[in-house]
Amino acid sequence: MSGGAVAATAVEQRDIRSHPSGGGATESKGVGTSKWTPYLLLTPGFLWLALFFIVPTMMLLMFSLYTGSLDQGYSFEFPGNWSTYSAVWDYRAQFFRSFLFAGLSTLFCLALAYPLAYFIAFKSGKWKATLLVLVIAPFFTSFLIRTLAWKTILADDGPVVTFMNWAHITNLLALLHLTETDRVLNTPLAVVLGLTYNFLPFMVLPLYASLDRMDPRLVEAAQDLYSSPWTALRKVTWPLSLPGVVAGTLLTFIPAAGDYINAELLGTTKVSMIGNVIQDQFFVVTDYPTASALSFVLMLTILVLVFFYVRRAGTEELV
């Protein structure tokens, strides 16, 4: 049957080719090209995502339901080994901590990046390109090296912590449970600082992109209408930069929530994040199903959070 269909199509095609004057055929060919081109161009991207995102995600989901062990091999037994998901409750503290730290570092990033992006977009003049390169420059060094550098910066005997001890800043922060009384390294604050530092460029760049597109005359107009600089910022600049804020917060929050390097190097056992748990479940305990279940729940939680966030913030102008 299929053979016949193919033959028929071949005949049709030959017919069209042998009658080039046939107006209908040429026309439909033209329309067809323009209609299918975008899809054709999308194919590589779709294939890429299907192969490296959808397939691994499905495998992750499957694996989280497997029974067995490395020695004996894994198998799927209907209805699946759902007990792996009980680990999610066991590690609820690490989940909560991950989202708390990611949220805090996103806020810090926003507070640091907004003035910086504003300055680069409006006030930097001929230095604009140089400053943008400087924002990206840390990426020329490995992520690991940059994080390790913080160990030196925040070392117990280092100038930063010595000063903070002298000024009793560490005591104050210790009251908030952010640091210990005599150190910053291996405390929650160190992890949040590390996350903030490592993901700052992801906040600066989208903010810059949306501020740079803004027409500065709008601020002038606001001032002509007797708005104070603060009101102009609040009512004109900030709303117009919102797409950048949304993009920046997403780009910061999502990787920060899954990060484990910062907690591993700058943290301590009491501030481990869910990324550390997943890493250890995979490599040290070699409990692949539990590790998969934790990864899957992490992904799902982030997806839900992002969904509600984006719905509230709106995506119309999101770049």
Binding site: S69, Q72, G73, Q94, D157, R183, K270, V277, V284
Partner: protein
């Protein structure tokens, strides 16, 4: 071909038996092993029959069909060797020249492709195990892994038996204390590359001597300045010793008590961090005052800072070795055996140890060392005497389920 399918079973069963796996699980493991390597279910069925007879008979098996491949050693004079970083001698002028490997080439004509791609046992295992499980060549002929990981590979039947006819030096020169680990009692599968002990290190410029693990985990002047190792066998082993238990033979209760002790120290804020190799920088820059440490690292640290001291706790130390293993389907098995044997020549062993400064597993190397570097001869962390060795203990071999439970319990303390 007709009788060969029996062999992987024998291999797997023996491997599992060594690890002390219950019989039911042992058979399952064996069946899985064959199914994974022999693609045909028919072969697996044949193999299952063989299991019963050979495990009861205890017949020794030659290398199996599915774990070997035609050995190219005689025609292709090369060898792929994966090892840890900073674990071999290096020429003073050229980082890429290893004098002992050049000596090996001169003697045997074999060129060694030496790669330092082992960062830690777990990640290296994760790297090679998919190939091994699928019955494919890992692209490596030889690698060195720590006892417990070597035990796991032997248990899973992923490494090949060494042909002892090719390794007379190992038979003659392997030091007695490393001759019979529980997971490879006659050293059929492995030979130590280097060995070391785990004990306590402290910075004498900051604190008085830390004599015991109890002191390390409770002394107030060390609060927040202590690190322990993420390699849980080392950390828990030392705690077990401190509690008067034997790390090579302990019960689940003992283990739980040790974990409790660690948990208490962690809750009180005594422990600052769980570390891998990176404790060495923390100790030398004063971030940590005392820690659980590996001997070779401390010897190297002492070269720069004489205030760093290594303590041999009265209760005992943990001893471990990194073991050379030949994975299944290695293409140059004989070359690998020649290399293993080459490093058991006392003169070569001394040359290697003079550079890496871990415990040398070769008899006679001490005498050879006298010609290279006299200062190292009397260092017990390099050439331990009997009194020193009497204080060292091996960690117990564990079956997979126990291993997983213990690792999970330890990681709970770690917060992950």
């Amino acid at each position: 071909m007709a009788q060969r399918p029996l062999d992987p079973m024998t291999e797997a069963v023996q491997a599992a038996a060594r690890a002390g796996v219950p019989r039911r699980r042992l058979l399952q493991a064996a069946a899985y092993g064959t199914a994974a390597v022999a693609a045909s279910p028919l072969l697996a069925a044949c193999g299952t029959k063989g299991t019963a007879s050979s495990s009861s008979g205890g017949a020794s098996s030659s290398a199996s069909a599915s774990s070997t491949t035609p050995d190219k050693s005689d025609t292709d004079k090369s060898l792929a060797f994966s090892n840890w970083q900073l674990y071999i001698d290096v020429d003073a002028k050229n980082q890429n020249v290893h004098p002992t490997l050049d000596g090996f080439k001169k003697k045997t004509g074999v060129t060694v492709a030496y790669t330092e791609d082992i960062n830690d046992n777990d990640s290296f295992y994760a790297k090679i195990v998919p190939s091994l499980r699928a019955g494919q060549d890992t692209g490596r002929d030889l690698f060195a892994l720590t006892d417990w990981m070597a035990a796991r590979l032997v248990r899973q039947g992923y490494v090949q038996k060494v042909d002892k006819a090719n390794t007379p030096n190992i038979t003659a020169n392997l030091i007695d204390s490393l001759k019979a680990p529980t997971w490879d009692p006659t050293r059929d599968f492995s030979a130590p590359w280097q060995s070391g002990v785990t004990g306590i290190a402290y910075n004498a410029a900051k604190v008085p001597e830390v004599k015991t693990i109890t002191e390390l985990l409770t002394r107030p002047d060390l609060k927040g300045k202590v690190t322990v190792l993420t390699e849980w066998r080392d950390t828990i082993g030392l705690i077990l010793l401190d509690m008067g238990k034997d790390p090579s033979n302990f019960t689940a209760d003992d283990f739980n008590n040790a974990v409790d002790m660690l948990q208490k120290a962690n809750d009180s804020g005594q422990i600052r961090q769980f570390t891998g190799n990176d404790y060495s920088s923390l100790l030398s820059n004063g971030t940590a005052f005392a820690c659980i440490a590996w001997s070779g690292d401390v010897v190297q640290l002492q070269a720069d800072n004489d205030k760093i001291k290594f303590v041999q706790p009265e209760a005992g130390m943990m001893i471990w070795a990194d073991n050379m293993l030949i994975p299944n389907l290695a293409q140059h098995k004989k070359n690998a055996e020649l290399l293993m044997d080459f490093y058991y020549d006392p003169a070569i062993a001394a040359q290697l140890t003079a550079y890496v400064q871990y415990i040398c597993p070769v008899k006679g190397a001490k005498e050879a060392m006298a010609k290279i570097d006299k200062t190292l001869v009397d260092n017990p962390l390099i050439f331990p005497d009997d009194a020193f060795l009497a204080k060292t203990h091996l960690f117990m071999g564990l079956d997979e389920a126990t291993e997983k439970t213990y690792a999970a319990a330890f990681n709970k303390v770690k917060g992950s």
